[in-house]
Symmetry: C2
Subunit: 365 residues, 2 copies
């Protein structure tokens, strides 16, 4: 059916080895031979069978990226960045989504794609440490995001506590004192939103205040609807905040929608800060102040680490597990700053400069 190396070799009157050399752009092929082979390749329309190459090389050049949900723009944007970062290493990305379910996350982490992928980048939500420590086999693994584990894997994440503190600090500086936190998840022993919630507590304490736990709202997930439900629940209980710090941007956007429905003005009555810096937040009717993780740095570091570990399988000494901290910054927009007529942000122009800048964070320990 397909045209094979052998067919090309036959036509060019050389061995398959020589054709292989030409196809793989190896040196030490006589110019005349190369031309003859190339001519045969073109004439026959030969295209290498990647599948055979994979089997022979023991490598596929495919890495998997497993995210909770592609419907969350943060992960869609991150996936785009990972695809680009991987292309720089000539790696192809296979996308998996786990729905944030522990079982699916554990399955993926065990490398259920047997030998199809060379490595895996996983952004877990509910995965537990034991899922990782009992991991027998599976490809090299790099972890992404807020969840941390005592397991020997590279972990790429911004300093979530510091980032959350910066956001809360910003709200405190605006004079807000009743700052709600949206996106705690009670069902999980170890809070996915652990660190951001801790940042909320620490910063309020550092300012001399007392964290009001009745302003911490649980959600069952992390999407727009969860934000709307949590915000509505808070208001229905009569716990009206003067500011909201949400686990992420879509939760913040869902909350903002409910605030408007209830006739509360953003930011005059309630200031709102999100997390992720998704494109959508910049174009919301009231543009969203947010913590902006450096997505392309996250993607780049993750792919670099993974590629290094894949290479290390060939006998190089593998580096110890690293903890890498890409940068982040607070982007102040209308949901906290209002819209002074003369300094209105223009969403059609390049992204505005950050206002507060958190420490970009050095590499791991």
């Amino acid at each position: 059916m397909g045209v094979s190396l052998k067919d090309v070799a036959l036509r060019a009157g050389v061995s398959v080895k020589t054709v292989s050399n030409v196809v793989n752009d190896f040196p030490h092929v006589a110019p005349g031979t190369r031309a003859r082979v190339q001519e045969a390749i073109d004439a026959l329309g030969y295209r290498p069978n990647l599948t055979a190459r994979h089997l022979r090389r023991g490598r596929t050049g495919i890495i998997a990226l497993a995210v909770p949900e592609l419907g969350n723009p943060y992960f869609a944007e991150l996936a785009g960045a990972v695809i680009d970062a991987a292309a720089a290493h000539e790696q192809t990305v296979l996308l998996d989504h786990t729905a944030g379910l522990r079982d699916k996350e554990a399955l993926v982490s065990r490398g259920f794609r047997g030998h199809l992928i060379d490595g895996l980048i996983l952004s877990p939500i509910q995965l537990e440490a034991e899922d990782l420590t009992t991991r027998q086999e599976g490809p090299p693994l790099v972890l992404l995001g807020e969840r941390e584990y005592d397991a020997p894997y590279d972990h790429i994440a911004i300093d979530n506590v510091a980032a959350a503190r910066t956001a809360v600090r910003h709200l405190l500086d605006l004079g807000r004192r009743r700052i709600a936190f949206l996106g705690a998840r009670e069902e999980s022993a170890r809070q996915p939103a652990h660190l951001r919630l801790r940042g909320w507590r620490e910063e309020i304490l550092a300012s001399g205040g007392t964290p009001d736990e009745s302003l911490v709202a649980a959600t069952s997930g992390y999407d727009r609807r969860d934000g709307a439900v949590a915000m509505r629940a808070l208001l229905d209980l009569g716990r009206r905040p003067d500011a909201v710090f949400a686990y992420n941007d879509v939760v913040a956007l869902g909350a903002m929608r409910v605030l408007t429905e209830r006739g509360l003005r953003v930011p005059e009555d309630v200031a709102v800060v999100g997390f992720d810096d998704i494109e959508e937040g910049r174009y919301a009717t009231v543009s969203l102040t947010t913590v902006a993780p450096d997505k392309s740095a996250i993607a780049r570091l993750a792919v670099d680490c993974l590629v290094e570990r894949i290479a290390a399988q060939d006998g190089d000494a593998a580096p110890p597990a690293r903890r890498l901290r890409p940068g982040h910054r607070l982007v102040v927009r209308e949901s906290t700053a209002g819209r002074p007529a003369d300094t209105a942000e223009d969403p059609a122009r390049p992204p505005p400069p950050s206002v507060a800048r958190a420490q970009p964070g050095p590499g791991g320990p």
Copy 2:
């Protein structure tokens, strides 16, 4: 390095053929033998090498989905639906993004992943018919979306003209007469937004009006910024519409942001309709009226067609190229209907019922 079939066969004291039979769940294996083999598999931690299987079978079970941009929620949501639809056929999805560039689209359509993928689903923006007619090789191909080609490939798309007419009809019914169209692209000989623009023209003509071409705004792409830029340009030229029909939801959202900036009320001063029904539109501060294509039907039909064509390569007669039309409906929200206090849509509840329903459209011709 890995454990192979042979290792398992050795330990179980059977031939590799028998192990293969067990692994692939073939019948006609004596229960005792099966148990013995299974025990060996577990003890050795054997996992099939997919790469070898692919080579031998000549199939990988991987299909590619190429979309312009994962950052556009419509494509992210569609990708999720395709991944799910493919899982039902035990197919894995490889995601490519083309940035809507003709060269990249043409490259992908030629199946540049040589034998790695069994088939391709492509949603083209700038691809031209000749790119397809000169296509020599490449895997089975299914086309998605508004662009149509005179080429023998399956094409899955809602009735874009009818859908656009329904949207414009809705605006006309509200008494709007200066309806702008956002998202024409002049640089391309054959408009990507061809059909939706045609629907705009036809419906205005059908209502006895005259399409005002000065209200057709070109964009350089199809994202939020493009919508904002186009809207601003229209207003700066003094061409104030009383309604906007946008090529898609993100363009509509970008436009809505600018309208608000300029102190225009939505929908009182300007009603807005988008296209795609992305989740974001439901939670916008003024929720967005939109044409909702049936994304899961699109995904399902595309995967079904592709899987059928892949199977047809084994000698079955391939069906002629089909044109399949999944359904769509108009979802009316606040950006055209306003927010009557007593019927406010609750974004935290299930999606609202459609108000106008376009013909769901029969299967192909």
